[in-house]
Amino acid sequence: MTTIPSGVPTAPRTTAAAARTTDLTKVYGEGETRVVALDAVSVTFHQAQFTAIMGPSGSGKSTLMHCMAGLDTISGGSARIGDTELTGLKDKKLTQLRRDKIGFIFQAFNLLPTLTALENITLPMDIAGRKPDRAWLDRVVETVGLSGRLKHRPGQLSGGQQQRVAVARALASRPEIIFADEPTGNLDSRSGAEVLGFLRNSVRELGQTVVMVTHDPAAASYADRVVFLADGRIVDDMPDPTADLVLERMKGFDAKGRTN
């Protein structure tokens, strides 16, 4: 596994908020078909912290991420990325915000098959019309261990390698926050562990902020903190999780689900 070369200072840990929601509410449909996906959720994600969001299916964990990342509209309350309030932003501003301040990692990798690995990594900067920072890019590429594969197209890479390209793409533009949606869902356990390791390293060594949605307790154990959602509400907040602790907590939901 790659380690950060000696001499590179590790990023200082701060407690400033990278993203924050206050009474965030999301409602789908109207009247009979009205569904409250998020019910006044207030949560803060700190800078240089790796947070996992967990919860059973339908708990609203993906919706929370989508709303915070400016991918979905907000019905009520507030969501902020850094100092920027998302409510009321027009599509153009939201797009710019995503482009400049947010990185994404998807379950299905979502790389462009027509572009090489390197082109995929620099895509967000190409969209912004910015030149990538060469030194940073090299460091990111080296961190995720893709140096020899930059000219390859996604079709020539394994699933794990593709997701590493996606991680590099998210890191390369130095966003304020990275949202990862089930990043290991399509990977075998070894590749998944690798990718999670990179995410953790990027937080510890590069000072990146990462928010990850997952339903896998093992994946969540890589995080510094786990936030549990159920029925659109935050029901628990666990610092320094381990896989066993998380699993225990999740069993509680299942039991509750059964008794209901």
Binding site: L71, D72, T95, D100, T114, L123, I127
Partner: protein, 841 residues
């Protein structure tokens, strides 16, 4: 399987929309053509029947090859005899001839071909039943006429007005005494008719006492055939024949059917091109549908469907799509047919009225064509569907439609294209290479179709520098355009077909125009050419009048006379031998104009070779009056399209011609061609509306005008193929947007704004269209050049002209196609819901 197929069609309504539209347009073109032609044909037939309703037997002069000499025309004596044969009720003599009518401003009414004069032939009651008078009375005497009501109304003439007429040159001022209505076919088809009293009509339009035709009406109880037998007994031995009215109507109907058939064939040819272009679109759509359904089809195979059943399910889908498109296309075609007739009636009214005719054969043809084309195009994708292995259903990562290596395809394409080019090049060197060239053109086209996937990468790479200026959108557009080479190729090929034809025809058209123009101007030294508007003969008076002017320094009328040389009918051109050299520039192979004025003849090379003449050969000629004379060949010249006959002096001809008429008059003036000179000439001719006085520039303009008209008609007809190609581009883009929705969702998520997405789709569209455009224009130029090599064999002054301006316009048109086609898909892509797109598997 039928139910599965139907469900699939319903499930993919939106994606099949463009396919249905393309087939519909093609079918509408076909059925519109059929409805229009059968409607017109029907109307013309019924008008022909009506025209002969009052004619039981017609006596006409015949051309039974009785040779030269005085032909017995139909005269009063024959008419009287015919009127009194047993079973005849009455007989009418008809006289018709070209009659130019000037409107109130002195301009010619009609085009010159459609204005006629005729005789008012009163029957026993003193009236001509053919022409009932609406206003005023029938004409009497040399300077009275009656006009058909439409012409009179449109020109604003009233009874008592003065109307200026011309027949063969000089202007006649006449008084309008009557306005009549008529069912005459030519008039209801938009022509004009002026009537004179019988004697005047004969004198002006034919010859005193003679008729063009004699129409005999049968007494009640006498059949047409019986009357015809009786009439035969009174006919002169030769020069006239009798035919029943029914026969004449049938003959005319057949004639009409024949001329309609060739028009129909031409129009259907263009419809065929549009349908052919549609095939690319249909094949693309079905290929995509099959690819998207790989799993589903594999599942069908896994649960026991045979390959044939899978293919059949795709074909059934094609039949349903084709049937829907054919039915709507047929309805649209009937509408087009009706609209075309309304349009023609609204503008020129050259079509007689009649009901809209929708034959059973029209309906059947439309349905067969629509369904046939769709099934044909879906056949390959259907076979590909059958090849999907059942295991693909289980395999979650089965790649959609394996992209077979293009090596085999490229080899075949290269062979075809190579053979095609070789054949075309070989044909340019042949004396009669039409067939070989056509074959080569088809081979080359097929080769290029097969090779387009290969060509797409390098050609689209050429556009890279331009695309780079659009940043990431341009880069992605370029990558997307070459991503599915087969689909890009099929889309571009569809556009290529139309542009190849348009460019090729334009190159040939402009080159021919230049060639004819050069020949006309080069071979002509005359400043002016005077001719009749309808290209009818001119009275010699015109040349006499012009010859008398001080400004005119050289003049020659051109006469035509039939003669027999060595047993073959040959047309002699009579000229003024003295001035002919000053008016034309003939290129002599041997000899010279020399003794033309003194009674010699000159001949073009082809005729001389055929007859074995050399300078000094003595040639026995039998003239139109049957007399013989021996002429000496004075020179042999290189003939061209303008002048290519045996030429003699008018002095030689005049002794053998009873009524000399000129085809045109060429003349040279003191000051050359100037506006003042032209005005002098026009004034000298009495401001005759029927005469055209043209200088070289006018001749050139006339040539380019007629070629432009032809090209514009072809553009309009090929427009349908281009429209179908536009649908094809729309289809491809819509498919791409649909298939790449997850990618587009990701791009939007990581920060590409709507404008960027739109631009990406538009640029892809532009790149594909320009690819097709460049291929089409390139091929068109090549075919145009090659066809020109063949044409130059018969048109010596032919010269390849590359119409850069127009080619630029065509390329711009291709770009426009790209932009327009992308409008809807780009909007769809920009409006795509990011989350749904990302969540999709």
């Amino acid at each position: 399987m039928l139910r599965t197929a139907l469900r699939n069609v319903l499930a993919h309504k939106a994606r099949l929309l463009m396919t249905v539209l393309a087939v519909m347009l093609g079918v509408a073109f076909v059925s519109g053509t059929l409805v229009f032609t059968s409607t017109i044909s029907d109307a013309l037939r019924s008008s022909a029947r009506e025209g002969y309703a009052d004619v039981d037997v017609a006596i006409q002069p015949n051309s039974d090859g009785s040779g030269l000499g005085d032909r017995p025309a139909l005269d009063q004596r024959l008419l009287d005899k015919a009127a009194h044969v047993p079973g005849a009720a009455s007989a009418t003599g008809t006289v018709t001839g070209f009659t130019a009518i000037a409107d109130r401003h002195g301009k010619l009414i009609g085009t010159g071909f459609s204005t006629r004069g005729g005789n008012y032939y009163p029957g026993a009651d003193g009236k001509d039943a053919r022409y009932p008078m609406r206003d005023g009375a029938a004409p009497h005497g040399a300077d009275q006429i009656a006009l058909d009501s439409r012409t009179a109304d449109e020109a604003g003439f009233k009874v008592g007005d003065t109307v200026r007429l011309s027949f063969d040159g000089p202007v006649h001022e006449t008084r309008l005494t009557g306005i009549f209505t008529t069912t005459d076919g030519a008039v209801s088809a938009g022509g004009s008719l002026a009537l004179f009293d019988n004697a005047t009509a004969q004198k002006l339009l034919l010859a005193p006492g003679k008729y063009n035709e004699i129409h005999v009406k049968a007494a009640p109880g006498t059949s047409q055939d019986a009357l015809e037998t009786e009439i035969h007994k009174v006919l002169p031995a030769k020069g006239a024949e009798a035919t029943t009215g029914r026969q004449l109507a049938d003959d005319e109907a057949e004639q009409i059917a024949k001329s309609m058939e060739s028009m129909q064939t031409a129009l259907l040819g263009f419809a065929g091109i549009a349908l052919f272009v549609g095939i690319f679109l249909i094949a693309n759509t079905f290929t995509m549908l099959v690819a998207q359904r790989t799993k589903e089809l594999a599942l069908l195979r896994a649960v026991g469907a045979s390959r044939r059943q899978v293919t059949r399910s795709v074909l059934i889908e094609a039949v349903v799509v084709g049937a829907v498109a054919a039915v709507t296309g047929l309805a649209a075609g009937i509408g087009i047919g009706a609209a075309m007739r309304a349009l023609m009636n609204g503008t020129g009214a050259t079509v007689p009225d009649g009901p809209l005719v929708v034959d059973v054969s029209t309906v059947v043809t439309s349905l067969v064509v629509g369904i046939g084309v769709t099934v044909l195009a879906a056949w390959l994708p259907g076979r590909r569907a059958a090849k999907i292995p059942p295991v693909a259903a289980m395999n979650s990562v089965h790649a959609t439609a394996t992209t077979k290596s293009l090596v085999v395809r490229n080899t075949i394409g290269a062979l075809f294209a190579g053979a095609g080019i070789a054949a075309v090049l070989a044909a340019t060197g042949m004396s009669d290479g039409k067939f070989v060239m056509g074959l080569g053109a088809v081979l080359l086209l097929v080769g290029v179709f097969v090779l387009t996937p290969l060509l797409s990468r390098p050609l689209i790479a050429l556009a890279a520098p331009l695309l780079r200026t659009f940043g990431i959108s341009g880069k992605l557009a370029r990558e997307n355009a070459v991503r599915n080479p087969r689909r890009t190729a099929a889309t571009a090929s569809a556009l290529m077909v139309g542009l190849t034809l348009i460019t090729g025809l334009t190159v040939i058209g402009t080159s021919v125009q230049k060639g004819i123009d050069k020949m006309a101007v080069d071979s002509l030294k005359a400043d002016y050419v005077v001719s009749m508007a309808g290209l009818t003969p001119l009275s010699p008076e015109v040349a006499q009048k012009l010859g008398g002017l001080d400004e005119v320094t050289a003049i020659s009328p051109l006469r035509s006379s039939e003669a027999e040389i060595g047993g073959n009918t040959t047309y002699l051109t009579g000229v003024n031998g003295k001035d002919f050299g000053k008016l034309t520039r003939l290129d002599f192979a041997s000899g010279s104009l020399g003794d033309l004025a003194g009674g010699g003849l000159i001949a073009d090379e082809d005729t001389a070779k055929e007859k074995g003449w050399k300078v000094g050969s003595r040639v026995p000629v039998t003239f139109e009056d049957g007399k013989k004379e021996t002429l000496t060949v004075s020179g042999v010249y290189h003939g061209n399209e303008m002048i290519h006959q045996v030429i003699v002096d008018n002095g030689v001809l005049s002794t053998h011609q009873k009524h000399a008429t000129d085809m045109q008059v060429m003349l040279k003036t003191k000051d050359g061609a100037t506006d003042a000179t032209k005005q002098t000439l026009i004034d000298a001719l009495g401001k005759n509306p029927a005469l055209t006085v043209e200088d070289k520039k006018d001749v050139s303009a006339g040539i380019s005008q007629s070629i432009d008209l032809l090209l514009n008609m072809l553009y309009a007809l090929l427009g349908m193929a281009v429209i179908v190609a536009v649908l094809g581009v729309v289809n491809t883009l819509a498919m791409s947007v649909f298939e790449r929705s997850q990618e587009i969702g990701m791009l939007r998520a990581i920060g590409l704004d709507r404008t960027g997405v739109k631009r990406m789709v538009r640029l892809e569209s532009l790149v594909i269209s320009l690819f097709g455009g460049v291929l089409g224009i390139g091929l068109g130029v090549f075919f145009g050049w090659a066809a020109g090599e063949l044409i130059s064999a018969s048109l010596a002054t032919y010269e390849l002209v590359l119409p850069w301006g127009r080619m630029g316009i065509f390329l711009a048109l291709a770009a426009l196609v790209g932009v327009v086609a992308a409008l809807w898909p780009a909007r769809r892509a920009a409006k795509l819901n990011m989350l749904t797109a990302l969540k999709a598997e």
